[in-house]
């Protein structure tokens, strides 16, 4: 008997929600022990993590507040990933946006709100664009892997923030590395009176709707999706892959920058080193779990906000360490992502069928057969799919072109049928190096992706 992952023809509609539920149950089982070890009842803890924040108005608004920055970064990443531009730099662009919004707030402190807020937001968005411009140009002009360049610019942005806060923008009264408070006009109006939820939530919601409209209803969106799914086919159809990538990269940077600006204007009212607590990286997770759709991003961002608030609550009430919340949410991501692999593969148990290919290892054949690989192990890299796999990891090892080539496995089967073309992007070396343990033992779908 061996377990194999077999490619699925069609995905039943009920599958994705069921898989998410299964993932939740798995996480519950995995974390029940540690939570009990920390001295709390797992059921009560989960109640606190997920349900409690949603039951009271005040905590509910906190959930929304916690979701706002990752909404921005999640949307930013989704826009880029959708067109096959693997922007890992939302973190840096977010920070750049925060800097961009702080500058007018410090140097033009007396502007009235109706002028100040738009000015700061635009400045933030532009800073985000600027921060994404260089990697985007390197990618579209010289095919330099944007995963590396965008990623490496993140610490640069953080250092820039720190440099500013320890230099020209150091707090003039306290001397701490925190900027002065921005002018009064730069305070983002509240969206829900009596809470801390600011207008940023409206901006994010409008953005989400706009992105959904553009992606699903316009020619631009269709072109971007085509480029993301199959650059070759897009190019064949007369779509400029280069322009599309550049546009997506810059829009993504603008959205992330807007998120940074919004965070400064709506929450901190000043620039600090902690303005982003890894919102850019979380955005990658949000976008991926949200299947790169605007609606999915909104849902996942709210869920993560929920767990963040719930973890604070649980640490107060149940004396659980605050890290437990992160453990739960991280495990949840991992579980969901792993389970979602089953959207594309199904598990099939079967006996090692010898059939006509008689297993009788020839006595005179000479030499032992290679060690049989653990069957059914799918290397994660084989399910490049902007919608279900984690492109942030896989894309770093593969050129974007090959990523997208791997997107449609049904096509790859036929690729083998035209052997002249260099269809298998995996060279025999990789096959040899990785055999016998990375081969998917599926008839017709062997490691050809």
């Amino acid at each position: 008997m061996s377990m194999r992952l077999v490619l699925r023809g069609r995905e039943p509609r009920w599958l994705a929600p069921v898989l998410v539920l299964v993932a939740v149950v798995i996480v519950y089982l995995l974390t029940a022990g540690p939570i009990r070890g920390a001295g709390a009842n797992p059921q009560a803890a989960y109640q606190r993590y997920i349900v409690t924040p949603l039951t009271q108005t005040t905590s509910l608004t906190e959930v929304v507040l916690a979701a706002i920055p990752i909404l921005f970064t999640g949307l930013a990443v989704a826009v880029a990933f959708r067109s096959g531009y693997w922007n890992i730099g939302a973190e840096g662009q977010f920070l750049a946006g925060a800097i961009g919004a702080t500058a007018p707030g410090l140097y033009l402190p007396n502007l009235p709100g109706p002028l100040a807020i738009p000015l700061a937001l635009v400045a933030g968005a532009l800073a985000g664009v600027l921060w994404s411009l260089v990697p985007a140009l390197l990618r579209t002009r010289y095919r330099i892997d944007e995963v590396v360049t965008t990623l490496l610019l993140n610490p640069v942005a953080l250092l820039l923030v720190q440099g500013l806060l320890n230099g020209p923008w150091r707090n003039s009264t306290s001397g701490f590395p925190v900027s002065n408070n921005l002018g009064a006009g730069y305070r983002m109006p509240l969206a829900i009176p009596g809470s801390r939820v600011h207008l940023g939530v409206v901006i994010a919601a409008v953005l989400a709707i706009a992105i959904w409209l553009v992606m699903s209803r316009t020619a631009t969106g269709l072109r971007a999706r085509a480029v993301g799914l199959s650059p070759d086919a897009a190019r064949f159809s007369g779509i400029s892959v280069r322009k599309t990538l550049l546009r997506s990269a810059l829009i993504s940077g603008a959205i992330a920058g807007l998120g940074g600006a919004d965070q400064v204007l709506g929450v901190g009212h000043k620039l600090s080193q902690e303005v982003s607590s890894s919102y850019g990286y979380t955005g990658i997770v949000v976008a991926t779990l949200g299947a790169l759709t605007a609606g999915g991003v909104v849902l996942v961002a709210l869920l993560l906000g929920d767990i963040t608030v719930g973890a604070q609550n649980a640490s107060l009430v149940l004396q659980l360490p605050p890290q437990m919340g992160e453990i739960v949410s991280s495990l949840l991501m991992l579980a969901v992502i792993s389970m979602l692999v089953l959207r594309r593969y199904k598990v099939s148990w079967r006996r090692d069928r010898s059939g006509a290919l008689a297993a009788a290892d020839a006595p005179g054949g000479g030499g032992a057969a290679g060690p049989p690989g653990p069957p059914g192990s799918v290397s994660a890299a084989q399910s490049h799919d902007p919608a279900s796999a984690l492109p942030s990891m896989t894309a770093s090892t593969a050129a974007p072109d090959s990523v997208s080539r791997a997107v449609s496995p049904p096509a790859s089967a036929a690729d083998i049928a035209s052997p002249g073309a260099p269809s298998s992007s995996k060279t025999p070396l990789e096959q040899q190096l990785s055999t016998p343990d990375a081969t998917v033992g599926t008839p017709g779908e062997e490691e050809t992706v």
Partner: protein, 570 residues
């Protein structure tokens, strides 16, 4: 087809008597150690009635190998025998199933059925590890070498086992293997600094160092310059003298004639025939590869296809102003030029066929015409508009319709049929800032009806069969009413019904006055559809024939590169 079946009573494993070099004796003399097993086996089987199998136990015997990908049958009951000391060439067009068959033998692909026998005993080869254990080595076009490592390290890398690396033994291993193929290889050379030919040698050394008795060479000459080819052939001869059996995959007739002892021709997943090389002319092999021409049948169909209107419009009566015109087109390639000055023109209402054995520049020609590759010299005009080196967008705008050989590279698999159908024409389906979804759907429904595509507008196109996908591409292209068409391998992998449908559509376009350039490796198709046939060989056109009453033999000779007696140049 019938003929091909009746041709194979021997099921492909029949070496003609005397068609082989005395492999076994040479083998045991030259390399006794590794072949003792075979000598013994042969002795025990020698009593049998003198059938070919009794003469030498085959190194490899494939029986009834079947493999399909989806609804595409790639290997359809393939039988193949490799004897010690022979070079057995596997000849066939792209997509004929050669590489799949070899991948099955090397454990990279699992067959759906059939038996693999190694040295007379059935073996399961489920992974390259199994294949290596069974003494099979394979050198593919894409080398499996670690570029930054030395030759020695690459060889050591491929050897199983843990423990300390013994580089000194490794160097000896390199030297010993190099001696067997009669070349000198520096064991400490870094692989990425070696030429392609030298890297290929390292691949062969690697296989030899694992003690392989069967060497699969998958289109080994595709990447080589002529001098390297000569060296490779010399090495192959040394190896066969040592009793190693070589499976030589190629679609180049000249090489196959030169190096192989026997040839098996594979077409559409079936072995058409296995013949001793000595008795087979290149022209005959070419014919076997691309299919036995049945002149006349389809030609009649053509005029019958659309009733009178098609027949009436058949010959270009108006002054033929060339709609598609190509002058002096050149394109750099690996080693030599992929296109070496192609000049041709297609008039309205004319189908010009491009014949040739695959790999002679057809793919590149189509890529340049489609706007996917920029030529190094020459011009392309469509309807008087210069589109040399233009982007696909401009090429489409100039009125060129394109069907390329790789249909999967032309559709976005995850998008729907309807979306793929409008992909080249998005501006036409706008309403305000948004896409007009009703119009897109109506457009799709109309084309699905018109082209009898078995799919719904909302189906992801990757779920379609090859034939239906091709119909979608055809529909997308023809819906724009192109003045000229470039069509490459339009029916490869399609069933008969879909093939006929595509043919009818092309003929209808011709009747409607479009200029059609049809690139095909299927001679039958060209003879049935084209008005003129030009032959491409090594990136240049070597001849032109009217399709009506074309001399097949001459066509075959031209495809094999022997253009001398064909006076006409394109």
């Amino acid at each position: 087809m019938n003929q091909s079946q009746s041709d194979r009573p021997g099921r492909g494993d029949m070496p003609a008597p005397g068609g082989l070099p005395p492999a076994s004796s040479v083998g045991s003399a030259g390399f006794p150690g590794s072949l003792i097993g075979y000598d013994a086996a042969r002795a025990s089987g020698a009593g049998r009635s003198g059938s070919p199998e009794a003469r030498a136990v085959p190194l490899v015997q494939l029986r009834g190998i079947r493999k399909s990908f989806g609804d595409l049958l790639v290997n359809d009951g393939v039988d193949l025998t490799l004897l010690p000391g022979e070079v057995h060439a596997l000849l066939g067009e792209n997509g004929a199933g050669k590489t799949t068959l070899m991948r099955i033998l090397y454990g990279l692909t699992r067959p759906d059925g059939g038996v693999i026998e190694i040295a007379g005993a059935a073996r399961t080869i489920a992974s390259p590890g199994d294949a290596i254990g069974a003494g099979i080595g394979m050198v593919t076009q894409h080398f499996s070498l670690v570029g930054r490592m030395t030759v020695t390290d690459n060889l050591l890398l491929s050897r199983a086992g843990a423990g300390r690396l013994d580089r000194r033994a490794g160097r000896r291993m390199v030297a010993a293997a190099a001696e067997r193929i009669g070349v000198h290889v520096d064991p400490d050379a870094v692989v990425e600094k070696l030429s392609v030919g030298e890297q290929q040698r390292v691949e062969i050394l690697k296989a030899l160092s694992r003690d392989c008795r069967v060497l699969i060479l998958d289109e080994p000459t595709a990447v080589l310059v002529p001098q390297d080819v000569a060296a490779l052939f010399a090495s192959i001869r040394l190896l066969t003298a040592q009793g190693i059996g070589v499976l030589f995959i190629s679609h180049k007739l000249g090489e196959v004639s030169e190096i192989s002892d026997r040839v098996s021709v594979l077409r559409r997943g079936r072995i058409i025939d296995t013949v001793p090389t000595a008795g087979a002319t290149p022209a005959r092999l070419a014919e076997m590869m691309v299919g036995r021409p049945t002149v006349g049948v389809r030609r009649d169909d053509r005029d019958a296809a659309g009733g009178t209107e098609l027949a009436d419009a058949a010959p270009p009566s108006a002054p033929p102003k060339d709609v598609l015109s190509v002058r002096g087109l050149r394109l750099a390639g690996r080693g030599k030029e992929a296109l070496a000055g192609v000049t041709l023109s297609v008039a309205p209402g004319e189908i010009v066929g491009v014949a040739g054995v695959s790999g002679n520049g057809q793919t590149e020609l189509v890529q340049v015409l489609c706007g996917l590759a920029k030529p190094t010299a020459g011009t392309v005009t469509v309807n008087g508009i210069d589109v040399t080196g233009a982007d696909p967008e401009k090429v489409i705008a100039a009125g060129l319709g394109r069907i390329t050989e790789d249909r999967h590279a032309c559709v976005v698999g995850k998008l729907t049929v309807a979306q793929n159908l409008v992909m080249e024409d998005l501006p036409r389906f706008r309403r305000g800032p948004f896409l007009d979804r009703t119009a897109i759907r109506a457009h799709a429904e109309r084309l699905i009806e018109e082209f009898s595509i078995k799919a719904k507008p909302d189906d992801p196109i990757s779920t379609l069969s090859g034939g239906n996908m091709q119909k979608v591409l055809l529909a997308r292209t023809l819906a724009r009413d192109p003045v000229a068409l470039v069509v490459s391998q339009p029916t490869r992998g399609l069933d008969i019904g879909a093939t006929e449908f595509v043919h009818r559509q092309l003929l209808a376009r011709r009747a409607a006055g479009a200029a059609v350039l049809l690139v095909s490796e299927d001679l039958e198709e060209l003879l049935a559809l084209a008005d003129r046939i030009v032959v491409i060989y090594e990136g240049a056109l070597v001849g032109e024939l009217p399709a009506a009453g074309a001399d097949i033999e001459r066509l075959g000779l031209m495809m094999a590169g022997q253009s001398a007696q064909s006076g006409a140049a394109a």
